[in-house]
Amino acid sequence: MDARSLKEKIFLVTIFALTALGVTPVFYVLASVIYKGIEAFTRRGIGIIVKVNGGILPAIMGSFALSILSTVIGVVLAFVAGLFVAEFPNSRISKITKVASRSLLEVPTVLLGMLVYILLVVPTGHFSLLAGAIALALVMLPYVMVHVEQALESVPQIYREAGYSIGMSRAQVLFGITVGIAKRGIASGILMGFAKAMGETAPLLFTIGAARSSLPCSIMSPGDAVPLMIFQYAQMPQEYYHDLAWAGSLVLVIVFLLVFVIVRKLIKEVKY
């Protein structure tokens, strides 16, 4: 064996080992959540999914509502901001927007929760799902925006020129061509933001109220979310609550995986 192929072997083995090192924690977490989650369900019965008091239904329903609400608010804002920044890169507003959204990434999420607490919860006088959703929207905003921006920027200029050459307006080019070609990148940005928001606990601590004895019956009523429930139940001494936390984790993971697989399947790469 000569030196070159030996070098190649060493390189490959190193890369493989590092990849394994990076991926192992993910599989470890996944495996333990599935194992402990199933254990929890067999011990407490599958019925805890639909129980309100002493079950996880309020958390699941709350998380479900929060994910839609925060996506509606966050993605729409981020999408528009991303479009604007990508389309008018030299405008002063877009430069300010860019800096502002990047610095939003650095803000600890618990502070975003406190901000919404002061601006919305205190004036309305009660915790609400809407407050939580706005806090989550602020969390996902910069992630989605960066992705949308980069996806749009990566579309080659010649496609736009082709559009203009056949007499399309700027808006037609943007929505008909650029967004269409960049849709996979945009979708993965939205997924990133969605995932980020769904797993967040800190912005919800002071906004949604951890209401576990009742279901959230409007967007202005207090609610619960699975990550918040996991965080608070894991600190309690009773095993029963630990089990509920594991069950909640399992449900969260399953929903996550489903959403990811479905969205990836639905949005196919555009063939040039």
């Binding site: 608010i73 915790f127 004895s213 608070q232 600190q235 309690m236 001494p237 609550y241």
Partner: protein, 376 residues
């Protein structure tokens, strides 16, 4: 309408419309699914009480809430365990909750600033317990405040220290180092524990070592270890072979740790249980150290019940207080009164493992608030 608007205005309008429609759809979906999932509760007549605060009382409060809601279908009680300090501030300053729970009572200054408008009721008794793990020995262990203080000061290094042996003449204690675990986060548990050490062993444990978070002298010897939360301390304790730690009783019982008997003011070694915990409060009540009204200043309550007199009293106990305003809108006032009544009657007979009920005299005092709260 769209004829007069330019393309920019139109798309802005469309975007706002999209968000609003999205919100409305989710709102309707929530209302509909609520009707399906909890049809037996009519929404219009329902009163919701939101509370927040102490994490320590949370398991007990959850138990009370589920019992309470079985009996009172039209009252919903929700509780957000954000911590005692946040609870006090959310009730008093920001007014976003109907009631709060806090392990420490209102400080003297806060009490003065609210001018008797906040009612405080100690609703449950908790205990901080010392758990131990000694290699080769699983029998009972007696500890005194002096010995505990010296362990956490770093002065006592081994289990077979003469002072420990003196308290446990029958035990075979090994010559092995003791690791002392404490909380690394700011905690009411640490406050109660250090307060006890100072009150029971003032010559060893100075006042500047009393607080929610302190600089542990034992850390300098390398035998002190910190962990976050009662749960964190319990998990850490499990991994060690020779250690001592202080946790809330519930965590010790749930994890089946060995719990030490502590010497009380009367010189008796007492283990924590319902009887000895309630006894401590009873003896404080009898000596007239606790106020007799919910609108009084309770800021010295800890002083009164920690290291209390009486030969049955467990020395390291604490209260968790429920706090409410004295005026509410009518419906809310009625609901809150019902809940307070429930907690101080049936609730005290349904206390879960790790807590002790308050004595009868104290329930009477708490129930006075039912007459004080006014509905407008």
């Amino acid at each position: 309408m769209s004829e007069k608007l330019g393309p920019v205005e139109r798309s802005t309008l469309n975007i706002i419309l999209m968000v609003v429609i999205g919100l409305i759809i989710v709102d309707i979906a929530l209302r509909v699914s609520c009707c399906f999932l909890q049809g037996h509760r009519s929404l219009s007549s329902q009163v919701t009480l939101m509370g927040s605060g102490s994490t320590f009382i949370y398991p007990q409060l959850k138990h009370w809430i589920s019992l309470f809601e079985e009996k009172n279908q039209n009252i919903v009680v929700n509780y957000n365990p954000t911590g005692s300090g946040a609870g006090q501030s959310q009730l008093i300053r920001e007014k976003v909750v109907s009631f709060a729970c806090s392990d420490p009572p209102l400080s003297h200054d806060t009490y003065k600033s609210v001018n008797g408008k906040i009612l405080q009721m100690p609703v449950i008794v908790g205990a901080v317990v010392l758990v131990y793990k000694i290699p080769g020995y699983s029998g009972p262990l007696n500890l005194s405040a002096n010995v505990i203080a010296e362990i956490y000061l770093g002065k006592i290094k081994y289990w077979d220290n003469p002072e420990i042996v003196k308290l446990n003449p029958k035990a075979k204690l090994p010559h092995i180092e003791i690791k002392a675990i404490h909380r690394s986060d700011a905690s009411g548990t640490t406050q109660v524990f250090t307060f006890f050490l100072h009150k029971a062993a003032p010559s060893l444990w100075p006042e500047n070592l009393v607080g929610k978070a302190i600089n542990w002298p034992v850390d300098k010897t390398g035998r002190g270890l910190g962990a976050k939360g009662n749960q964190g301390v319990s998990e850490y304790f499990k991994t060690l072979k020779s250690a001592i730690a202080y946790v809330e009783l519930g965590y010790a019982l749930e994890n089946k740790f060995s719990i030490a008997a502590i010497e009380n003011q009367a010189g008796v070694f007492v283990k924590p249980n319902t009887t000895t915990m309630t006894a401590a409060v009873e003896s404080a009540l009898k000596s007239g150290l606790l106020p007799d009204s919910p609108s009084a200043d309770w800021s010295n309550a800890l002083q009164a019940i920690v290291y209390a007199s009486g030969k049955n009293s467990y020395p390291i106990v604490s209260f968790s207080f429920m706090m409410v305003w004295n005026v509410y809108p009518k419906k809310k006032a009625e609901a809150l009164k019902t809940f307070i009544e429930f907690i101080n009657t049936i609730g005290q007979e349904n206390v879960i493992e790790g807590y002790a009920p308050i004595p009868k005299e104290l329930r009477e005092i708490n129930l006075k608030s039912v007459n004080i709260i006014r509905g407008t």
